[in-house]
Symmetry: D2
Subunit: 284 residues, 4 copies
């Protein structure tokens, strides 16, 4: 079991940032395992991810904040410190298509995802046996036009009760209210079944079939106020031909969706994703 800390930083670009951070970490005896940075010249932004071994590091979480504050203030940093021992807690939301859910649960069991998954919420009952198989609490929260507000309130309560850090929409076929989205900024990941920005909205495979495209895609993104317009974390595509009917697109698409969603979730969990200007930086 690794015991590391990861520091994520966003700040205006300036000389001396790396020197200051590297000096600080060295001073406190950090053994750096990975460091990656990105500069956006146009937006004059500096973004960094640095992960170090905590074994000989001489600051705890609180002390880190106290000591790091001076540097953070000097460079006007937004920063987060994540400890590997605090695994993020995920809620998976799903409707009837269960391929992404099956995939995430199996990956989790296999050790690919460094998180807890204490909660599954669905507006249908189909996936309950699967939740039971993996020993995860399943809550059935049906949603209709009329009950949407209550349903979301029930969901919020569940997120609170289970101390949820990240909500994954694993083919959850309900549109979240603005209230929901605003409550969990950068904490909701959705899988959309097209290569956005093509085929925003409903039935993308059907529309891809009608348009006669030669590639279909899937896109994992953070959910924001505007439908399917949030920062894209990952995309991938599969080749199709005139031989493929809509059902073939659906089938090929399922393979895309689960791979793309799982990559996005893993990168988020591993604290590899930073966002700015409605885009993501993925430190792989």
């Amino acid at each position: 079991m690794k015991n590391t800390a990861t520091l994520l930083i966003t700040c205006p670009d300036a000389k001396g940032i790396v020197a200051s951070i590297a000096h600080f970490l060295h001073q406190h005896n950090a053994n750096i395992l990975h460091a990656d940075q990105h500069q956006d010249a146009e937006n004059n932004l500096f973004l960094m991810r640095v992960e170090w071994d905590l074994d000989q590091f001489n600051l705890d979480e609180i002390a880190f904040g106290q000591h790091f504050e001076a540097i953070a203030a000097q460079f006007s940093m937004q920063w987060q410190l994540k400890l590997s021992e605090h695994k993020p807690r995920l809620a998976l939301m799903v409707s009837q298509y269960d391929h992404c859910l099956v995939d995430l649960l199996h990956r989790h069991k296999q050790g690919e995802l460094a998180c807890e998954i204490p909660l599954i919420i669905s507006n249908h009952l189909d996936t309950k046996p699967l939740a039971d198989f993996y020993g995860i609490d399943f809550h059935h929260v049906p949603v209709t036009k009329d009950t949407k507000v209550e349903a979301e309130n029930a969901q919020f309560k569940l997120f609170d009760d289970y101390n949820i850090d990240l909500i994954v929409l694993a083919r959850y076929m309900q549109i979240l209210s603005s209230n929901f989205v605003a409550r969990y900024p950068q904490c909701i990941i959705n899988i959309h079944h097209s290569f956005l920005p093509a085929f925003i909205g409903a039935k993308p495979y059907h529309r891809a079939f009608e348009r006669g495209v030669k590639l279909i895609g899937a896109t994992a993104h953070y959910v924001t106020e505007v439908l399917d317009e949030g920062p894209i974390i990952e995309q991938d595509i599969a080749r199709i031909s005139h031989r493929d009917q809509v059902e073939d697109l659906l089938q090929k698409g399922r393979d895309l969706e689960r791979v793309v969603l799982s990559r996005a979730v893993r990168w988020h969990i591993d604290n590899r994703v930073l966002t700015y200007a409605n885009k993501t930086v993925v430190f792989d």
Copy 2:
């Protein structure tokens, strides 16, 4: 040098079509080299491509038409017969970006494209040395808002003079008039620098960069009345990351554009593309 005939057929689906065609070809001693067919259940359509060796075939082009007429009428076929000895004649249109032009000319010289390329038209002079190097007639037809009609008339005259069968827009940065498009149905191939239907219109790489996509694409399509809405022949994509600036997208995109365009042109030349319902069937 191969000496073959290719028959392309589109008709309502019905029992006995293949039997009739196969019997007809066998009767006239055709040695079939490739045959491929597609049925579209939704549109009740049957599409076929069959290519045979002419060596022992006992009908010439005119006799074929006379004898095949009965079958064609029986099944209400639209059909075309293409002989490999009649190589299609291409006009390449280009503005200042020459990567697709360089690519097509080199492929042609190398024997990848079974066509003649007697004519290059450009609204700039930059690519004239290249045309000279390959010994191809180059015509400079400048276009401004005010001279568009005359310019297109000059282009039409060139197409007539050179007996052009296919017009390839190899990064030709002028929008063709409706008149132009209507004059050459299914005879104009364009390369658009995005994975359509994403980023229709101008500056797709800039818009891709702004949207923060993780993939960029290119699309070769037949030009129809509505901009970037014609039947898609081929698409491909390349992966990008936050490290890629707009110039990197342009560079990676050039590699896509030339590969995608050349595939579409080759398939068209080899009589592998049929269209219906604003889609293509590509018999590869």
Copy 3:
């Protein structure tokens, strides 16, 4: 539920084959749904797959054989007729890595695989709960050097008892004896975790890591006498970089393995695969 017949043919190439088959099927009122063919000039071979609707077809399985015999004899055909109502019966063999098993079982449940899966055999107990969850008989057949012959005999008996048509090695980490392989020609599909012929044999990901390749792959193939040398049905690759350690290769590889294996299994089940000269023709 579709009710179709699929005819697979391999024979020396000759004029008139398609005409004869098409005429025969038309005569007996077949409504052809798909037809695909391939000619290998070098080996002078003709291969064909044709699928038709049985609704109005006027021959049953036995009568088909009787009537088709004349054509088959004329062209020296090897042929098989497969009816969609006779679903092939699969045995899945697995050791401890369960990702391919999980994948195949979920696809089967979802309706992607038109087969029965009555039997799972493992030399370990780890996957028994999964078999139980999907309601499939699980047989634990441990294998040691000394017990290999008895173990394989036990496996043969299980294949007989369950009327197995296809054996899928879903990361089964034992090498089959020549006797085993000879007993089930073209009826065993294996997934090898490299892009064959690179990294034949054990620990391909470790050797890929050491060699410093930039791509890893997976290959599904029929098992033949010589290890990892059987006809390749499908391959795919994933990009890696210096950042990827062996564990990352294993993780990315799992995603490849299950997709590649499931494609090969589906194509086999759908009677899309023909073999000759240690290669496959996949009629997609």
Copy 4:
């Protein structure tokens, strides 16, 4: 025109390396544009690439060496400093297939490659007109078994005369002697037309065809003593099917070869490639 310096470092991993380098650069007023690093735990190695703007940097090349020596010694670094103003000088070697040559020359003209290309050497005369078109000196050095030593000596003299930094084998179909290879360590890039380590040696496309693979590939690598065993810089693949004959593999392969080779050359030129343990780290 950018005016930057790039520092490449390889050394045993240790605490404080990044802090020391970052402090040094900051002290001398470097504006860091890109920094990337890699740690190889198994080999206990630290590798780094850092590029900075020279505009306000207060050391010249010689002074840099003098001042940086202390840090380099402390951490036992191997280091190189590359200035963008000193463009590397390339020799392209080619036989008869000219697709890679055409590609590199066009990219260079277009500004994709930050290098000089003063010299083309070929054992054939076919590509001379192309060299003339681009205004590059062309030297015809025929090679036979008996004249190999003299031919290579003539080549060495040309490399000296033209001050060549990098030799690119753009489908040069002669095997270099050990003497040649030893003379230019890490300075010869070759394109091999298979996904190494599959199909080492001659006629890889023919052998790929015989093996019945579903993917073909190309590999760019540094040339070392053992044929096709040098550190891999880049690889890519294309999908093929049973419909593809050897000529189709050759055609699809050409598209791979030129893209893969050009990427490797660009990365080398941009000082993005470090090697160790017969592998490359590519800082993209």
